[in-house]
């Protein structure tokens, strides 16, 4: 049995690495192989075309037109190399931006380092998620256990989850100020309503016979929840929370645009405004790495906490 299991594990790791390498390979191909995509021409020598400048990106057809024009007029011919639009930087540019982002001290006095901005964002997510869970998890469990409470709360929650959380930004600022309060509120609004429904659903999946048995044996009220329902759904609840944490991350960018500019979003939007897309992609990837990294750790922890639950094994 043992060697096969080992074999399985190494195969799985290989596939996991491959799932990252494949998209990277596609990205490299698109970036480095000149005849794949490359709809633009980067001018290297402007020649006789008055508005061309070295480093300018021009459409291929336009470049051809202007070259023909230069030939007809007997002007110096421009030259250039195939290039991608500015919106798609090459992998090595992003890697470099990634490095300098962390290593370089910010030019502005008192400006936060990239890791400080990032830490600020992580705190926003953390508090948003904790606050949402404090309300969402108990409410979800109650709604899942008691049918009448479920019917009272879930239709509204179901309705509310479709409302766009960022649209409450101005209201959140009016109530909670301009700093972290409204940002955390947006994360909560974005996460809470999904959380209630998902947790309630998970609770309902607990086998009815278990609850029946507990009731028959005289368990009622609070004890039914703490001794039967919660222990019964704990592994699934844990997995739900993992998924919901990822959900919270997706609200970060809109949340941080509300109130004063801060965190990683400030970095991303500002760099995008001045078209430094290498920095933008580097920052986006950092978010991915943190999110994915946290989830890996939580998954591993889940296997430790709930060794009897086979579904925790699946990543």
């Amino acid at each position: 049995m043992k060697p096969i299991a080992n074999n399985e594990a190494s195969k799985r790791t290989l596939l996991a690495v491959g799932s990252f390498l494949l998209p990277l390979l596609v990205w490299c191909l698109v970036s480095y192989v000149p005849f794949i995509w490359h709809p633009k021409v980067e001018v290297t020598v402007p020649g006789g075309i008055d508005y061309f400048q070295a480093g300018m990106l021009v459409d291929q057809t336009q470049f051809a037109d202007e070259t023909d024009y230069a030939r007809e007029q007997g002007l110096a011919l421009p030259s250039g190399v195939p290039a991608n639009p500015i919106y798609l930087p090459a992998p090595h540019q992003v890697a470099q931006a990634f490095y300098t982002g962390f290593a370089k001290q910010p030019v502005q006095k008192d400006a936060p380092w990239l890791h400080e901005s990032l830490w600020h964002s992580i705190q926003i997510i953390f508090w948003g998620f904790v606050l949402s869970s404090i309300v969402g998890v108990p409410l979800g469990i109650l709604a899942g256990t008691y049918a009448s409470l479920g019917r009272l709360t879930e239709p509204f929650v179901e309705y509310f989850r479709y409302l766009p959380a960022p649209a409450f930004g101005a209201l959140a600022v009016a109530i909670l100020g301009i700093y972290d309060g409204p940002k955390i509120a947006i994360i909560v609004i974005g996460t809470l309503f999904q959380q209630v429904l998902i947790v309630a659903n998970t609770t309902r999946k607990l086998e009815a016979t278990i609850i029946e048995a507990a009731r028959t044996l005289g368990t009622r009220g609070f004890r039914l929840l703490t001794r039967v329902v919660v222990p019964g759904i704990l592994p699934d609840l844990y997995r739900d929370q993992r998924i919901l944490l990822g959900w919270a991350w997706t609200y970060l960018i809109v949340a941080e645009l509300i109130g004063t500019s801060s965190g990683i979003t400030w970095y991303i939007t500002q760099q995008a405004r001045y078209q430094h897309f290498d920095n933008v992609y580097a920052a986006i990837m950092i978010i991915g790495i943190i999110g994915f990294g946290t989830d890996l750790i939580l998954a591993r922890l889940g296997r430790r906490l709930f060794p009897w639950d086979r579904s925790q094994d699946r990543r």
Partner: protein
């Protein structure tokens, strides 16, 4: 606990805890609370960074707290009374005021001097060439006003072109698509549009009509009244900022500070600064007078008001004069 009991508890909580607390906060605000000012990414406002970094507010003896925002978010925060003042255009001061966030423009920071532009696609060299064509602008915003102003000067009407409504941020892509003959955008987005579509050129800019768009420091009326002396000090600091930026000897240092604030290199930032005419106090005093047309703040703001009403930005005309108070700028 019955409902009545709950009600009286709430009332007690209100009178014993919350009201005294708010009173205390309001009282201490009188003492030495820093003035909270929201600013955002426009050269005329980033200029404040020079004074912040150099510690000039401390020297002037006025406690301030500058908070960096996205432009729209800064106006939201001002409307919600979370900050005492905000940097915005005179037109947006009216828009914000119509929605309840009334303000007093205590001073002018600058006017756009080329940073706002209508950009024609390759081959389009003048506004006249736009007749019967599509033009993309963000309706109700300054570029829309700029276009109308230009068309009028060229002897044309709004109906001579087909307006396409689009977000200013997306103008580079709009122009690149080739579906429209021209787009309206401000810097740095305008620069991106020109760079993205080689051969595209500005055909009408705010430099052709200086004063179309004034940028101001708009203050919450209550704060303007209660802390007038402090605001006058802030206005004085501005004069020092303008001198520092305009002096060729100190300009490189100023540009370094400003470009660092927005996260670009000084070389990238310099052209944006050139498209903005920063106003010293002396220059501002000549504009902050009564009069019609774009040469005065009053005239420009009135035109802006008419434009806003005509385009349904808000329903009823605003009392423009209630937004104006030149005494801060004129204070000796």
């Amino acid at each position: 606990m019955n409902l009545k009991h709950l009600g009286s508890t709430m009332k007690r909580l209100l009178t014993r805890v919350i009201l005294p607390a708010t009173a205390a906060v309001a009282f201490s605000a009188h003492a030495a609370q820093p003035l909270k000012i929201g600013y955002s990414d426009w050269p005329g406002w980033v200029a404040w960074q020079v004074a912040i970094d150099k510690g000039w507010f401390k020297e002037a003896g006025v406690p301030v707290n500058f908070e960096w925002f996205d432009y729209t978010a800064s106006m939201d925060a001002f409307s919600a009374s979370k900050i005492d003042a905000v940097t915005m255009t005179n037109g947006d001061a009216l828009v914000t005021g119509a929605a309840g966030g009334k303000s007093v423009m205590v001073m002018l920071t600058d006017y756009s001097n080329g940073n706002d532009m209508i950009i024609g696609k390759p081959g389009v060299r003048s506004l006249k060439a736009l007749k019967g064509k599509k033009v993309a602008v963000e309706m109700g915003f300054v570029e829309h006003l700029l276009l109308l102003n230009g068309l009028k000067k060229a002897g044309m009407k709004e109906s001579d072109v087909t307006l396409v409504n689009a977000k200013t941020n997306e103008m580079p892509q709009m122009l690149a698509s080739g579906d429209v003959a021209a787009v309206g955008a401000w810097q740095p987005i305008a620069g991106q549009a020109i760079k993205a579509v080689p051969g595209a050129r500005p055909i009408y800019t705010s430099a052709d009509e200086p004063g179309l768009i004034y940028d101001v420091l708009a203050v919450n009326p209550a704060s303007a009244k209660q802390r007038k002396a402090d605001w006058v000090k802030v206005v004085k600091v501005w004069d020092r900022v303008v001198k520092y930026i305009n002096d060729p000897k100190t300009q490189p240092d100023a540009v370094k500070i400003m470009s660092a604030r927005v996260g670009v290199s000084p070389e990238t930032y310099l052209p944006l600064l050139k498209g903005t005419k920063l106003l010293s106090l002396d220059e501002a005093r000549k504009i902050y007078v009564k009069g019609d047309g774009f040469k005065t703040l009053q005239g420009s703001t009135k035109i802006s008001d008419q434009f806003n009403v005509a385009n349904d930005v808000y329903k009823a005309a605003q009392d423009v004069d209630s937004y104006l108070d030149a005494s801060f700028t004129n204070a000796k």
